[in-house]
Structures are given as C-alpha cells and as structure tokens.
Assembly symmetry: C2
C-alpha cells in the first residue's frame, strides 16, 4: 500500500467531480459577509463488529489529503517532497468502512454495498442499523454523513474485501483493547473523528463486557 514512488501537485481541474469550491456570499444582520466552501459528496460510515473473532473491522488506506496536510504543515509547501524524509506511510489512515453517496440507492443499501466491497462481508439490508446522522466538515463542506452499525460473523464472509476498481484498501481486524487505546486521553490518531466517535459509541452501547 505504501509503495508510492512519486507525488506531485497540480491545479484543481474545473470539472472535478469530487471537489467543487465556491465562495458563498450572504447578508447577515444587514452586513455582507462571505465564506469559502466546497461541495463534497454526502457519505455513509459503518461500525462493523465481527462477533466470531470479537474484533472491530476497519479499513486502512493511503489518504492523499492527509499526506498533503502533513507535508504542507511540516515544510510549508508540497514542492519536491522527499519520500525518505516523509514516507507515504504517514498518510495511511485507519477508518471505519465508508463510502460516498453517489448512486440513486438508499443510504442503507450503499452502506451494505460498502461493507461487501471494502470488507468482504455480505449481509442482508435489515442487519445494517442506523446509529446517527450528522454534518462533517462544518467549516468547509458541511456534508451529511450517516453512521450505521452492523454485526458480522465468519459465515458472512464472501470475499477478502479491499475495494473495487482502483481502490487499494486493507481490511484490519482490530482487537478491542487496541481500539480502546485509540480513544484514550493522549492518543494521537491518523483517524477521522467519525471513526473515533464510532469506536466510542460501540464501547458505550455494544461492546461485550468481558472482552
């Protein structure tokens, strides 16, 4: 996964299907203001718990935006990135199984498909239960994300997962004690708050008492 041999930056094409930036203008209390923002896709995320192995099922992937964020915070720009000084593994994250809402299907059905495509478990729709809905990136994108919870067993395993088409995704079975460490005071995570929130929700509501 971290076999990345070259990185460089170009301008955002005007026809990007993923990032559409704008400046929004508005008049609040009689005064004109503005805010720079972008439209990104709404998304689903799924807390997956394998009750056979008593492990959480997460995904690990190289995230260009995270790598870019780290490099530019460290060296002030993204020019001539030294892949030895900044190994691409810095941009690898651990996240909940997730996907964007870009199809004319129900959100729950999209969640079901992501569980199969990314993690390889084939589950019936009614086993995907909604946890909660919220807005991510309130400062920049304000996209909606719905979080789901699904318990799986070894019997549900249909493929090894790993994503579709160009996706390079590792499925990670995370022991509960490691997950607990991720949400402890002082933890430094390459994980988004939605993942950490999902783990906290799991421990507060679903985790077996004896693991």
């Amino acid at each position: 996964m971290e076999n990345i041999s070259k990185v460089w930056l170009g301008p955002l094409p005007a026809d990007s299907p993923y990032v559409k930036p704008f400046r929004m203008y508005y008049v609040q209390n009689g005064k004109e203001k503005n805010w720079d923002l972008l439209k990104v896709h709404d998304s689903v995320a799924i807390i997956l718990y394998n009750t056979s192995s008593k492990k959480l099922v997460l995904v690990r992937q190289f995230r260009p935006a995270v790598y870019h964020g780290i490099i530019t915070s460290e060296q002030g720009n993204f020019d001539n990135v030294d892949l030895k000084a900044f190994p691409p593994s810095l941009g690898v994250t651990l996240e909940l199984c997730a996907g964007i809402v870009d199809k004319s299907k129900s959100w729950q059905e999209i969640a079901r498909e992501e569980v199969l495509e990314e993690c390889g478990y084939d589950v019936a729709l009614e086993r995907i239960e909604e946890v909660m809905v919220y807005r991510s990136g309130v400062g920049s994108s304000g996209a909606k994300q719905a979080m789901y919870y699904c318990e799986v067993t070894e019997a549900d395993r249909a493929t090894v997962g790993g994503g579709v088409e160009d996706e390079i995704i590792d499925v990670v079975e995370l022991p509960l004690d490691e997950a607990r460490r991720m949400i402890q005071k002082g933890a430094h995570n390459n994980s988004p708050p939605s993942c950490l929130m999902g783990l906290m929700w799991f421990f507060a509501n679903k985790a077996p008492a004896n693991v």
Copy 2:
C-alpha cells in the same frame, strides 16, 4: 443570528486564505493516480464543562458550508435560493468551542484564547488539558485537530463571549440530558462528529454520575 436576507454564490477566488484546492498526483504500485483535495487550516476544539451550572458550554452559529450542503442536496444547485422554503436556521450548528491554528502560538494557547473569545471564560493555560489528536476530513483536507478539555466555573467568566470581529456566535449552556440525547441512537444532529465525539468522551470520562 438567522437574520439572513440574501445568499448567493461566486467562484472561489484564487487567493482565498481559507480554501486552497489542488489535484494531487501519485504513483502507487506503479500506477499513476490522482486525488482532489484542499488545504485548510489545522484547528483546536475544546470540550468546556461549567462545574457551577453542571452544563456543557457549546457554541451555536450559522455555517455557510452546512447551509450550502443542505440546499444543494435538496434542490441540486444553489440558484435563487428561496429563504422561506429553506430558512437559514437550517444552517445553524451546535459545536464545541473551536478555532483555526493561524497564529504563531502554541495550540494550547490558541485553545485558551478561543475559550475566552467565543465563550467568555478566562482560564489559565494549565487548566486546558489535551484529550487527543486526530485528522479531520481525511477524504478532502486531512487537517489536524487537537481536542482539549477544560472545566470552568462562574468565577472564570470575563465576558459574555460571542467571538471577535465579524463573528456572530451564541454561547449555549447545554444541560447534560440534552447532550446525552444528541449522542443517542437515531439522533439527527447539525453537529460535526468532533463535537459528538467530544460529548461521548465527556460522558465516558468526566461527567458527574449524579447529573
């Protein structure tokens, strides 16, 4: 706050200090790939608990990105927005006290300043304890956010808060039972996952047992 009389959209200026979009190219396993992303500021967020009132202190504000996200999901574009059909209150969020890291000060000091500017409590630096660090917007920005926890009392109140310069921010003292409802199964929040995660962390680690 929701006294918003007009909204419209323009192109993102090339010199926006807040949103800098790019297309990143990289070679992974010998194959050229790309990802559209943007640079946004790193940030701090603070879980604030008033031990005098036994309430959490949050902020409420109109978020253009959230309003834009809702309108474009509903009507497919942001043209001729009907403010009666889509009242600007739809874009008002409830969040942790937070701020961007754009000054040459320590992150903890920036957190201290945000507590004062947004919420009006003047606390010593050592009372701001770090909770954890993570990456937000892993799909689009990958910015770093550090979360802090701080207990305040009525004696710390220096101003009414509300932000600086053009900011229009309401300070909200949230009873713990209302906060608990925000993180229950089925909750639909106009809040970011960082806020919901902060509330879950508070209930797991800091909340008094008898409130």
